[in-house]
């Protein structure tokens, strides 16, 4: 007879002294871990609930402006520095870590229309209603010196926007035409026009740095190549586009914030159909900015809210609003992709977390592991109705909520009408036009 009994030595399983950590032998045999899927589901449900519990995105409000904030700019080298221009011509520079204004400049008479920093971070440019473009030093004046711009360019017309080239000493302004300026000269290197209308914003492509995009009030988005001195092509939409923003990771993708409550992500090479139509706002979209990862963007709207959209989704994943925040004029995603800043009508700049439930500060390795695990679980069970419902739930102000309902009804009525019309007409005479193509009027080359 040969016999062996299972006989464990407790010394191998119990810690020696109280100073040791407990021994935890593992065995991953599935029969010892029954109900794997239901338990993971419950964990995912708990994680989703906790995410909503901890969703406290609002961090700080920077107050000090004496009029509505009209434009914002990021510092290219310092994460803590932000520049803002207000409707009374005042430019302020803020320190985000201290949450304080560190410098105030009375830059223009009337609105500060545009503000942009130079890529090296030593100076910045502003344009205003007083038909000037001014270059300022980033550092304040020394003791006894007066606050004065480095250069001032006097123009003939009002400049409504400005953007700096990402690599060279060249900047572009827009107004009645798009002007490209050399920093050292007082007259533009070249001016480009296509039709006669006021152009509201101009943006340089961060990757293909010679490309520019602009949007004008005659409902079109025009693309230019700086090397050619003529516009490339334009797309005409149903309504006016307020701003565009280039994707910092994909050279040919840009997103346009439109008056018709939607945002359109275009592929520069095929302008006749947008890659994605982003719908959720209930009023005109005023500004848009990409996250540095190029996966998401944030949009500011006249409906007193900001929303975060994934690039490949047509619905927003997040909406931020407060009782006090009025029409949001400008929005920026910070360069570390963790925060969002928005400037609004009621003179405040607000700082938000880009990920509402994220824990700030240093995480321990176990916290990080738990976070990753929960993230994976949420991803795995995201389509389950219970989990989807909880993760999608957002509280909205009544005005937005009721407008969403109203617009849903309107949209449904329009769709019903179209279906009926199709039903009662000759087959093929009422074509099915997809939502993407519906809003594009024409593409001109």
């Amino acid at each position: 007879m040969k016999v062996k009994m299972l006989s464990r030595n407790p010394d191998n399983y119990v810690r020696e002294t109280k100073l040791d950590i407990q021994r935890v032998p593992r065995n991953y045999d599935p029969t010892l871990h029954p109900f794997e899927v239901p338990r993971e589901y419950v964990r995912a449900l708990n994680a989703t609930k906790l995410e909503r519990v901890f969703a406290k995105p609002f961090l700080a409000s920077l107050d000090g402006h004496r009029d509505g904030v009209n434009c914002l700019a990021k510092h290219p080298k310092s994460l803590a520095t932000v520049l803002s221009g207000a409707c009374d011509g005042e430019v302020r520079i803020w320190n985000l870590t201290k949450r304080k204004c560190i410098r105030t400049i009375q830059a223009h008479e009337g609105f500060v229309r545009g503000i942009c920093t130079r890529f090296c971070g030593t100076s910045f440019f502003t344009t205003g209603d007083d038909k000037t473009v001014k270059q300022w030093k980033m550092d304040g004046p020394g003791y006894g010196e007066e606050e004065e711009p480095l250069h001032t360019v006097l123009g003939k017309t009002v400049y409504t926007g400005i953007d700096h080239h990402w690599k060279e000493a060249v900047f572009a302004t827009c107004g009645q035409q798009v002007d490209i300026w050399d920093e050292q000269r007082t007259s533009p290197i070249c001016s480009m026009t296509w039709g006669f209308d006021s152009i509201s914003s101009v943006k340089f492509n961060p990757i293909e740095t010679f490309l520019l995009g602009s949007c004008a009030s005659d409902r079109n988005i025009v693309l230019y190549d700086m090397r050619q001195a003529t516009p490339l092509k334009k797309v005409i939409l149903d309504m006016r586009t307020n701003t565009i923003c280039w994707n910092p990771m994909e050279a040919f993708i840009f997103t346009a914030a439109n008056e018709d409550y939607n945002l359109y992500t275009f592929d520069m090479r095929a302008l006749d159909t947008p890659v994605m139509v982003h719908m959720d706002h209930v009023s005109a979209v005023l500004d848009v900015d990409y996250s540095p990862t190029g996966k998401e963007f944030v949009s500011a709207s006249f409906d007193k809210s900001i929303r975060i959209f994934p690039v490949d989704k047509s619905r927003s994943r997040e909406v931020y609003h407060t009782k006090r925040m009025q029409h949001v004029i400008c929005v920026k995603w910070t360069s570390d992709s963790k925060y969002i800043m928005c400037g609004s009508d009621e003179m405040n700049i607000r700082l938000w977390k880009a990920n509402a439930s994220e824990k700030l500060g240093v995480l321990t390795s176990r916290e990080k592991a738990a976070k990753d695990y929960n993230q994976k679980l949420k991803e795995k069970f995201q389509h389950h109705p219970q989990i989807k419902r909880i993760s999608r739930h957002r509280h909205l102000p009544k005005s937005i909520y009721s407008q969403i309902q109203e617009q849903r009804i309107m949209k449904e009525a329009r769709r019903r009408k179209e279906v009926n019309r199709r039903k009662h007409s000759k087959p093929g005479s009422v074509p099915i036009v997809s939502e993407k193509k519906k809003h594009i009027v024409a593409v001109v080359k």
């Binding site: 016999v3 009994m5 029954p34 109900f35 239901p38």
Partner: protein, 625 residues
């Protein structure tokens, strides 16, 4: 060629080999300087044997990066095709040892091979279930998930190497029947610590005993018919509490931890703590005969004389459902540890399967002629053993159609059944306990030859294998017996699930975690993995509704529109022709499919006609037209 190479490389550099032949002198001048430990490219002995031209070829092969053709295939599927066997010369051919900078050779190049069965154990995705009509994006995502899953299963299989303990065993000498080995012999043969696990509690006074081990296998609770209830740490033999409830005790069961104890008494269900203090008396559960605790759902399932199966949620103290089995008195109950379905045995010979989410039984299995006396389900949820008044002991396969696998008539019939963690089946027949073993873990026990038998001092009244110990606890008329059954238990426990050595703090931590992930009672169903699968039915329903709402199918393929070709090439006639061609092709495919389907249907019908059910096939069948 590779074979030769291996042979070449494995010859150790000979001390005399450094002196080059006269023939090779010219060549050796051109050679790069090499370290003394680096092997000579062609040792003179080998060179002498091999002809000239092949040598240069060999050199080329040596110079190129030494990755044999077969290794990349091996890397793709990490599971080796053959079950792992000691290295053979044939296998070696594929794995040419790689040389490092220092010249040392890795004798086992590449990732360690993993035996198929070990990896299969950890596979979760069922590859046979293919998602029909899925989009290419979905398909590629599923493929990625599948590859990841394979990777993790291989890793998990590889980590099995780290398990500390080996399962026990009992083997007779040649011709010796293990069933004839007595407990006393086993006790004599094993070490002192194991021998101490065999004991008898002589408690004749309080009549037949029911018993229950806690989930960690550390604690034992037992209750006698005449009201004696006790709980103890049976390893150290430390008594936790001992009371007499002055009422008949029908069944006893630990709740999620050893701190709580539920006792089915004559009238009502009572819950005690480990001091023996009565915490609750649940009057809504009355005349309970059997108790089962579902640890992951925190549900206490009770079967009553009145024919009700009641689920009590012990974490909130609410009754989840009370199901009327409509089969009279219920006194045979067990749970399926794989899917938390309750199996009830009835007096009409059926076993019914219950979930709290459904009012009706999930399934009814006719097992015996005459009533069912005992039911047990093994830990993988694959096999169910039943015994009935017809003295039969049957084993059923619970996957699929609940087919009986094997049956055996016992002289007395078994009154109690229990499965161990490694699939041993114990049956209590009168005052004898028989244990049958299978081929290994995950195989059904073979009923021909018992593995062990033991005669007790009284009739068996309760049976349970102790988790994580090679011990079978038997409650009988004369008290409690703790039998030694080598090879019964899972040797390696998981410290985060059931840790027999856990401290109080660890238990508290575990309790909080377990409560946080309490599985809702509605999720109990026959297949616990169903939650992770794609709900095709709802998906198709939603798609249909969407099409109805929109008035068209947004995902439909657009009809073929021929692209205009070069100048002058796309006349209207040619365009129509091209369009026609595509349409014809599609039409052909469709009709072919239809024809194939109808043919299959016909064949199926014919087969049905020709084979009248219930008759045995005859040799004359071949003439049937």
């Amino acid at each position: 060629m590779d074979h030769q190479l291996v042979g070449l490389m494995e010859t150790a550099p000979k001390p005399g080999g450094d002196v080059p032949h006269k023939k090779n002198k010219l060549q050796s001048k051109r050679k790069k300087p090499r370290r003394y430990w680096e092997e000579e490219e062609t040792s003179p002995t080998a060179a002498g044997a091999s002809p000239g031209p092949s040598r240069s070829k060999k050199r080329k092969q040596e110079l190129r990066p030494r990755r044999p053709k077969n290794t990349h295939i091996q890397k793709k599927s990490r599971i080796s095709k053959k079950p792992q066997v000691p290295r053979k010369s044939g296998e070696r051919r594929n794995l040419v040892p790689q040389r490092t900078l220092s010249g040392a050779q890795d004798p086992f190049p590449g990732p360690a091979p993993v035996p198929v069965e070990a990896a299969l154990k950890f596979r979760r995705i069922d590859k046979s279930k293919k998602l029909l009509h899925s989009k290419s994006k979905t398909r590629s995502r599923l493929e990625v998930a599948d590859a990841e899953e394979e990777e993790t299963s291989v890793r998990a299989a590889r980590s099995e190497l780290l398990l500390a303990e080996e399962p026990g065993f009992l083997e007779g000498d040649d011709g010796e029947d293990t069933a004839k080995i007595r407990q006393a012999d086993i006790v004599e043969a094993v070490d002192i610590a194991s021998a101490a696990k065999h004991f008898d509690l002589n408690l004749r006074q309080f009549g037949p005993y029911r018993l229950n081990y806690s989930r960690t296998g550390r604690h034992l609770a037992f209750g006698g018919r005449r009201g004696h209830v006790a709980a103890l740490d049976w390893v150290t033999k430390k008594l936790m509490c001992e009371i007499n409830v002055i009422e008949a005790v029908r069944d006893i069961r630990f709740l999620h931890s050893e701190a709580l104890l539920s006792v089915a008494q004559n009238r009502w269900l009572h819950i005690y703590d480990n001091q023996g203090i009565e915490l609750h008396c649940i009057r809504r559960c009355d005349r309970i005969t059997r108790l089962e605790f579902l640890p992951f759902h925190f549900l206490l399932a009770t079967a009553s004389e009145t024919g009700f199966l009641t689920y009590l949620d012990v974490s909130v103290g609410k009754i989840v459902t009370a199901l009327n089995a409509r089969a009279g008195r219920l006194d045979v109950m067990t749970q399926n540890p794989y899917n938390a379905v309750i199996h009830l045995g009835h007096s009409n010979g059926t076993v019914s399967l219950w979930s709290p989410a459904v009012k009706e039984p999930l399934a009814k299995i006719l097992c015996h002629r005459g009533g069912v006396r005992a039911v047990a389900v093994d830990s993988t949820g694959t096999y169910m053993a039943t015994s009935g008044l017809d003295h039969q002991l049957k084993i059923f396969d619970l996957r699929g159609m609940f087919q009986p696998l094997s049956a055996r008539t016992l002289p007395q019939g078994a009154g109690h059944l229990a499965f161990s963690q490694r699939g041993l089946l114990a049956a209590g027949m009168g005052d004898v306990v028989n244990i049958w073993a299978g081929q290994g873990k995950g195989s059904p026990p073979s009923l021909e030859q018992p593995y062990l038998t033991h005669r007790l001092s009284g009739h068996v009244h309760g049976l349970q294998f102790c988790p994580f110990e090679d011990v079978l606890g038997v409650g009988h008329n004369g008290g409690i017996t703790s039998m030694l059954v080598p090879g019964a238990a899972e040797p390696n426990f998981d410290g985060l699930e059931n840790n027999p050595y856990r401290s109080r703090k660890q238990r508290q931590e575990w309790e909080v975690k377990a409560l946080l992930e309490k599985v809702p009672a509605e999720l109990i169903c026959l297949d616990p993995r169903a939650l992770a699968e794609v709900d095709v039915v709802t998906l198709e329903q939603e798609k249909k509704e969407r099409i109805e709402r929109l008035g068209y199918d947004p995902e439909a393929k657009a009809p073929f529109q021929p692209k205009p070709k070069q100048k002058g090439r796309s006349s209207t006639a040619s365009l129509v022709k091209r369009k026609r061609k595509v349409m014809d092709k599609e039409h052909r495919v469709r009709t072919l499919d239809k024809v194939r389907q109808s043919l299959e249907q016909q064949q199926h019908d014919q087969e049905k006609k020709t084979k009248p059910t219930g008759t045995r096939p005859s040799a004359l069948d071949r003439f049937v037209r």
